[in-house]
Amino acid sequence: MGFRVMPKSAFPGWVEQMLQTYRVVGPRKIRDRYMFDEVNSPGDLDLTYSTTVLPPKKVLLPQHEELLSFDLESGKMEAAIDTQPTVLLGVHTCDLHAIRLLDAVFEDGYADQHYIARRQNVLLVSLECLSPCTEKSFCKSMGTLSVTEGYDLHLTDLGDSYAIDIGSERGQALLELTENAQPATDADYSRLNQTLSDKWPRFPYRLESDITELANLLAVSYDSDLWEELGEKCLGCGSCTIVCPTCYCFNVIDEVDFSLNAGSRIRQWDGCTLSQFAVVAGGHNFRSTNQERQRHRFFRKGKYQMEAYGLVGCVGCGRCAEACLVDINPVDTFNELSRRRIPMTRRHKEVLP
């Protein structure tokens, strides 16, 4: 399918149209940072944003979410399913890749109806990245610097206009809210191609090995000294998992209202880098040290998720690197493991007499 072109001057009008029917969530500038938040008027949006503190996963998997409410007196119990029609606007491609992983996880086996209901009612309008958002991002290494699927609409900034790829019928209908998206002309095609080929050299490769080697690299690095070193540095604050678009581990707790007769069961984000994550009754902790927790975190990012879902477990957004006070991050970790990797041949020689 070809793409459409919309002059930027028509963009606010289109968002106005969306706001008639949808909740619109997109990047907004709050003081000197950006965050995904509900927009009330087109002027709230800033599509030139670098990165956001929290990823857009919070729209699909809120930080604090009611799963069900119960009333003990009447015995009534009800699932809280949120179906509010929403446009999630301006999602960078790394975050779009992350949402594909969340989709796979929550659809797998017993489907999570709460996530899926939200997901089905969220239209994803993604945005092509044309320059690195921070020094810490490494999306190009992780293969997330572009997308070919998974969006309803995909925007590319052409200077005075947007090129708009249509990824679904729902996306098409959303685009029909405006009359200003015209079929692309030959000139538009060459402008888009130029823009896309210009962008790639602006992004560095930061991972020193190939992404397809990560799982194997980790497999031989379980006993690396690096885990101990990371464990000694790590503060166990859990910021890295909170800001991560591919982290979805959660806790479930009950909250009771003042009558003590009614309440809710709540899901909230949790993180495997927090010390109590794997504690069981009796107090035994199955990952009792920062060292074990960091290793588990990076094995999930570089190995387990890829093996379970065929999708990258780290999309290279760099948010955790921004958030970590002691400068622990995936790309440096993977690179260091790679440097310390003992070649197979040498290991064999050492073991064999």
Binding site: L72, G75, M77, A79, N251, L260
Partner: protein
């Protein structure tokens, strides 16, 4: 005929069905057996080794093994629960007629098909008898399908032994070999004293044809394993059930992960062959 499982597929996987407590039996000051019925003739339809997520509304939810065997589910099922924290603490205060929430059954059951014709040796410590009882009674109800049945069971003191009425029943059977031990004896105890591994000298097994099912606290596993491997029981025939923190029961919340495996859906039953390479699993 509705299954409990279909219920959670239709509305929300997190919404429990309201089960009624029909009977409560105290086994020790810390452990009680709760007999539960599902509403509207709904069936649990479980297999030995599976668990449910049990909730007390307003307090919380926790995974609990189903201790009754599928062969004995006459419209109810049983859970043996230790008072260990918030939810189980409140549960222990509850009375027959009270309502609790149940989701499940979850987890990979023991592969009973692969146990057919084998000699079975159960090595059980403490609360491990709760999940083990489901397997044992299933086996006893189809006794002819299996070889020898040997049960080794250890508790801290004689007063901590669970299901003593059934222990006596098993002891009386000529087709079951039961050996008990306690860490610390009490007045009137004339049985074995010592950890569970001291019982292994009493039993003869044809190792190659033996399946071992070992259930108990993590500290026990390593020692029992050494005995079993020492006797020559094949690694793939040694089965455990693991306890981990769990919040969903279906492989999403992340708490129960052992390396790449989720205890809730890939387990909680695992053979030694499956987990021997995974540091920290045992």
């Amino acid at each position: 005929m509705t299954l409990l499982k279909d219920k959670i597929v239709s509305s929300s996987l997190y919404v429990p069905v309201q089960a009624t407590i029909r009977d409560i039996r105290a086994l020790t000051p810390l452990e009680k057996v709760f007999s539960l019925t599902l509403p509207d003739g709904m069936l649990l339809n479980h297999e030995p080794g599976q668990f449910v997520e049990l909730s007390v509304f307003g307090v919380g939810e926790a995974p609990i093994s189903i201790t009754s065997s599928p062969s004995r589910s006459n419209g109810f099922f049983e859970l043996c629960v230790r008072n260990a924290g918030d939810m189980t603490g409140v549960l222990h205060q509850m009375k027959p007629g009270d309502v609790v929430g149940v989701r499940g059954p979850f987890g990979r059951p023991f592969p009973m098909n692969r146990f057919l014709g084998k000699d079975l040796i159960f090595a059980i410590g403490g609360l491990g008898l709760a999940p083990a009882r489901s397997v044992i009674n299933q086996v006893l109800d189809e006794r002819g399908k299996y070889g020898k049945v040997i049960i080794l069971y250890g508790a801290r003191t004689p007063g901590d032994l669970l299901f003593t009425d059934e222990l006596e029943e098993w002891d009386r059977r000529s087709d079951v070999e039961l050996h008990l031990t306690v860490d610390r004896p009490a007045e009137g105890w004339d049985g074995n004293v010592g950890v569970i591994t001291t019982l292994f000298s009493h039993v003869q097994v044809y190792a190659r044809n033996t399946v071992a099912i070992t259930l108990g606290p993590p500290v026990m596993y390593r020692f029992v394993l050494m005995e079993l491997l020492g006797k020559g029981v094949p690694e793939g025939n040694i089965w455990f059930s693991f306890e981990r923190r769990m919040k969903c029961g279906v492989g999403k919340c992340g708490h129960c992960q052992i390396h790449h495996l989720y205890t809730c859906k890939d387990g909680p039953t695992f053979s030694f062959a499956e987990i021997k390479h995974l540091e920290g699993a045992l």
